[in-house]
């Protein structure tokens, strides 16, 4: 079969572009319903406290207030992962971070709801907050959750593969490096918003900007005690998400409950500061990576350890913890591998999945370490990586199935585009070039709820007027999932994407798709849609073959026609074929579904995280200039090549690559989600610096097509992987420029100046900025005071002597 496509591979505008560009697209906060009330959440002012009393009577008496909910109204535990549900919609008995929702008010307008918040009286009994990984590990006396068996450990995992001792024993050179990746957040421009309407027929509809309508559907049933058959979740177009809208959130339940109470629609939209506290973003991670290599650079063993600062609740924490270790093996051959991961609770907003979920931090550490190894061994970083690639169609040491693998082509592409090997190590002081590779998944191999059902389902329906409807539960978060559904349907049926009406993100109208997370939509929903459309294509071909008297295998579908490939003038229109097929078979509708194949991962405990039907691969080169007087790092250019299998729409794939590069650039150059005493230090877009157009470097995207055997038309993911290589590429480029290793993010001017010895008057330059191990736990405050007193007395004694 020759691969000629009429839609796939074309730079067509997205089918939903026109709604977005004319202001017609309805995001959740754009929904105004008759009789609608406006809600606001009262949030905790304490990082860690017992709630002694909540009195809502003054607020309820406030003119315009209609209803108030507190944690007692919804005490059921919930959370995205079924095995670690430790949250409630509104705090019950205890608060665990500043910003945790405590109560919700519904009023006739937003001003009134806001005013009423200050009339809710909450008595807190403050508890000592735990704010660092070290304190969380050491402080057995303070428990954020009683469920933690050891101190404030949420999850601890240990996995070992191959003979680690033999691997290190056979190494010619061993590196043992510590790294720290600072937390950061998604900061979508659209803040979270939900509109609930509980109608006279006892049915609840919730419009919300969620990435996971299906999982939210399940949690609403659990928390509200309303059967899922009576709940309809509609994922509105997300105004950016990046992982930040993939948990069930308190405001969604609160809007629903308040609507059930008042029998009126209720809208709750978060303000920008609340979005920073809602968070669920990148975990701060301390890492220790020990790697053994032969003289030629061949890896002999890797021991990777991570400590994740999880914040106050689980979120996806189990998966995040495993992801820090799981994907280390799919890029380069590792014959022996040990992974130890610990995620702790702290009294800060919960961390969760952000673009690159759990793989971004270890990939940064590992690619920086490979850069050090290449220097130690005198190898070109690009040639070195190419020499140790994990082969296509292979198994990794931790039993992951690797199929299509384009990392080598990606490395070649970015090397060629930038003349990396000519420039590396030869640029003048202050100028540098750096490189890194990486990988990501095209959807998780296993669902969050382990079951045998499909991960994605789709229904395609043909209209006798030539229209096509595709329904699939995916959430459009700006990544272009609606366009993927329309394009694949159009390609299979030979119509134009604009002929396809997409019904997505609606739990009543569309079959289940698990959601827009882990970059799963193109691969999984794409295959489901393709399967459904292919069934209808067979009917159309059969009808056309009979009409045209041409064997079906000689027919092709494109441009709203079915034609003889031998003589394209012999053709019937798509509409005519539909009419003939419908006359014969009745209403033309077909379902398709997708589930990843069995056996793509191991069968040990913990093997559920890491497998995917196909890994994507990518490489970046960054070129930087470092101002030796101010310490400011200017990234001049980022070139990223990404193996997406096949680009179903090259313009959209490039958009994902560029957007990922932008986001990675922001993470390394200055974004940080940091706290002082549990209070966010930068909870606004003025302080938390998203790169503007003037900051953002020149971004270049190169598409590499490995044509995956199982992907829809060969496609794989494009939304997350391209972020991963950008951060280490920039870090390695700064080393090339000034000879300093930054084993800590973000790479701010302040740290560069410190390394150059220009931050203070002592002028001692450093060759490395980063951690040397886990820090000391903070002692109990009384003991610390006693300690100071003792030390002071000792000092005085020494002076007297």
């Amino acid at each position: 079969m020759t691969e000629t496509f009429s839609v796939v591979g074309k730079r067509l505008p997205k089918v939903n572009s026109w709604a977005h560009l004319t202001g017609a697209a309805k995001y959740a906060d754009d929904i105004f319903l008759p009789r609608m009330l406006f809600g606001r959440l009262l949030r905790s002012t304490q990082p860690h406290a017992r709630i002694k009393r909540i009195d809502t009577s003054r607020a309820l008496a406030h003119p315009g207030v209609v209803a108030i909910a507190t944690g007692a109204d919804m005490p059921e535990k919930m959370g995205i992962m079924p095995s670690t549900q430790d949250e409630t919609a509104l705090a019950v008995d205890k608060v665990r971070y500043v910003g945790e929702p405590v109560a919700a008010v519904a009023a006739v307008d937003e001003d009134t709801a806001f005013d009423a918040l200050s009339l809710i009286d909450v008595d807190y009994e403050p508890l000592e907050p735990i704010l660092t990984i070290e304190d969380a590990l050491a402080r057995d006396d303070v428990k954020i959750h009683e469920t933690s068996r050891r101190a404030n450990v949420f999850k601890e995992v240990h996995l070992a593969f191959g003979d680690l001792d033999a691997g290190f024993a056979s190494a010619d050179h061993v590196r043992d490096d510590w790294f720290f990746f600072e937390g950061n957040t998604h900061a979508p421009i659209e803040s979270h918003s939900a509109v609930a309407s509980f109608d006279g027929d006892g049915r609840l509809t919730l419009w919300t900007c969620t990435q996971v309508p299906h999982y939210l559907h399940r949690e609403l049933e659990k928390v509200l005690g309303l059967p899922r058959a009576r709940i309809r979740v509609i994922a509105t177009p997300n105004g950016g998400a990046f992982g930040g809208k993939s948990d069930p959130f308190g405001h969604e339940f609160a809007a629903a409950l308040l609507s059930m109470r008042t029998r009126r629609p209720v809208k709750i939209t978060l303000d920008r500061e609340e979005v920073f506290y809602a968070h669920r973003g990148r975990h701060p991670v301390k890492m220790r990576i020990k790697t053994g290599v032969k003289k030629d650079g061949e890896l002999t063993a890797v021991h990777y350890q991570s400590w994740l600062d999880g914040g106050a609740y689980a979120s996806y924490g189990i998966a995040t913890t495993y992801y820090t270790g799981a994907l280390m093996t799919v890029t380069y051959r590792i014959p022996a591998y040990k992974f130890d991961g610990v995620r702790v609770y702290t009294n800060k907003p919960p961390c969760g999945p952000k673009r690159g979920h759990g793989t971004t931090q270890p990939r940064w550490g590992f690619e920086c370490q490979l850069d050090k190894i290449s220097v130690d061994l005198g190898l070109d970083p690009l040639e070195y990586r190419k020499r140790i690639l994990q082969p296509a169609n292979s198994r990794t040491i931790n039993q992951l199935r690797v199929t299509s693998m384009g990392l080598g082509q990606c490395l070649d592409a970015v090397g060629k585009a930038t003349r990396f090997s000519d420039k590396h190590g030869t640029l003048p002081k202050g100028k540098g070039i750096g490189l890194a590779g990486s990988a990501y998944i095209s959807g998780a191999g296993l669902p969050i709820y382990w079951n045998e059902m499909p991960h994605s389902g789709a229904i395609v329906k043909l209209d006798r007027g030539g229209g096509v409807t595709v329904a699939c539960g995916t959430a459009e978060i700006g990544q272009g999932s609606d366009n993927v559904l329309a394009s694949i349907t159009a390609e299979v049926l030979g119509v134009l994407p604009d002929d396809v009406h997409v019904v997505s993100g609606d739990t009543s109208l569309a079959p289940v798709d698990l959601g827009s997370y882990s970059s799963r939509v193109t691969f999984m929903a794409g295959n489901a849609v393709k399967a459904a459309a292919t069934k209808l294509r067979a009917h159309l071909l059969e009808a056309a073959a009979a009409k045209l008297q041409v064997p079906a295998d000689r027919l092709s579908l494109a441009g709203r026609k079915i034609f003889d490939t031998g003589d394209p003038r012999t053709a019937i229109s798509f509409i005519e074929a539909v009419v003939l097929a419908e006359s014969k078979h009745g209403t033309l509708s077909a379902a398709g579904s997708y589930k990843p194949p069995a056996g793509i991962g191991g069968d040990f405990k913990g093997a559920g995280v890491g497998p995917t039907p196909a890994y994507s691969y990518q490489a970046s080169v960054a070129e930087v200039s470092v101002d030796m007087e101010t310490g400011v790092v200017t990234v001049d250019r980022i070139v990223t090549a990404h193996d997406c299998g096949r680009a179903l729409n090259p313009a959209n794939v490039e958009g994902q690559i560029e957007g990922s590069a932008y986001m990675g650039y922001g993470e390394i150059i200055g974004e940080e989600q940091i706290f002082r005493g549990g209070l966010h230090k930068k909870p606004s877009l003025l302080e938390y610096k998203l790169p503007t157009s003037l900051d953002t470097p020149a971004l270049e995207a190169i598409i590499v097509e490995s044509v995956d055997a199982e992907g829809p038309f060969g496609g794989k993911e494009a939304g997350e992987g391209p972020l991963n290589p950008v951060i280490p590429a920039i870090t390695n480029a700064v080393y090339d420029a000034i000879g300093v290793r930054f084993d800590e993010t973000p790479l701010t001017a302040d740290k560069v100046l410190a390394a150059l010895g220009k931050r203070d008057n002592r002028g001692v330059p450093k060759d490395r900025i980063g951690p040397d191990g886990l820090g000391e736990a903070k002692q109990d405050s009384t003991q610390r005071r006693l300690g100071f007193t003792t030390e002071a007395r000792e000092r005085k004694k020494a002076v007297r002597a």
Partner: protein, 188 residues
């Protein structure tokens, strides 16, 4: 006459100081009642139903709420309707479309993939429109400067530059501003 029981309301009305405000939006004069402290952003969205204008921070940090006032880009979240001159002409994203005709920027944004999630897009379009009106053939640096107050979290800005440049070329070539058949807009 029997004594009338004083009526008690289950929900009493909040204090109100609404004023009548008249605005010229997208070529229509509209009069409505609103709280004087409500911003232009709020009244556009809530009183006039023009939800195409978005909010990302309501503190003047993100640019999502950009509209044109007499052709100049203005942050509607920092503007009070009562501050505006009675003759001020406001243009929102809904006003970019002239009947069935799209603005060349809208076509170019679609073709270049310059709108991903689309949320910053209305503000971005308004900032870009003001730029092209003042400077029909901007350099890339001038485009970057003009949209530097509009944060986009999706695109990395590259596709936006390309779209503004493409719209600039389309305008100078006198190209029709009808929405074309999407198949014909394929360019590779």
């Amino acid at each position: 006459m029997s004594a009338v029981e004083p009526r008690t309301w289950r929900v009493t009305e909040p204090a109100s100081s609404k004023q009548l405000i008249t605005l010229d939006v997208n070529g229509e004069r509209q009069t409505f009642a609103a709280e004087p402290h409500h911003t232009l952003l709020e009244v556009l969205r809530e009183e006039l139903g023009l939800t195409g204008t978005k909010h990302g921070c309501e503190l003047g940090e993100c640019g999502a709420c950009t509209v044109l006032v007499d052709g100049e880009p203005v942050l509607s979240c920092l503007t009070l309707p009562i501050q505006l001159a009675p003759t001020a002409a406001i243009t929102t994203v809904e006003g970019l479309t002239n009947g069935a005709s799209l603005d060349p920027l809208q076509i170019a944004f679609a073709e270049e993939g310059a709108a991903q999630c689309g949320y910053c897009t209305p503000g971005m379009l308004m900032a870009a429109r003001a730029l092209l009106d003042a400077n029909p053939h901007p350099t890339r640096d001038e485009i970057a400067q003009a949209i530097s107050g509009n944060l986009c979290r999706c695109t990395g800005y590259t596709a936006i530059y390309e779209a503004v440049e493409s719209a600039s070329r389309a305008t100078s070539a006198g190209a029709p501003v009808e929405r074309g058949d999407p198949v014909r807009s394929e360019r590779r």
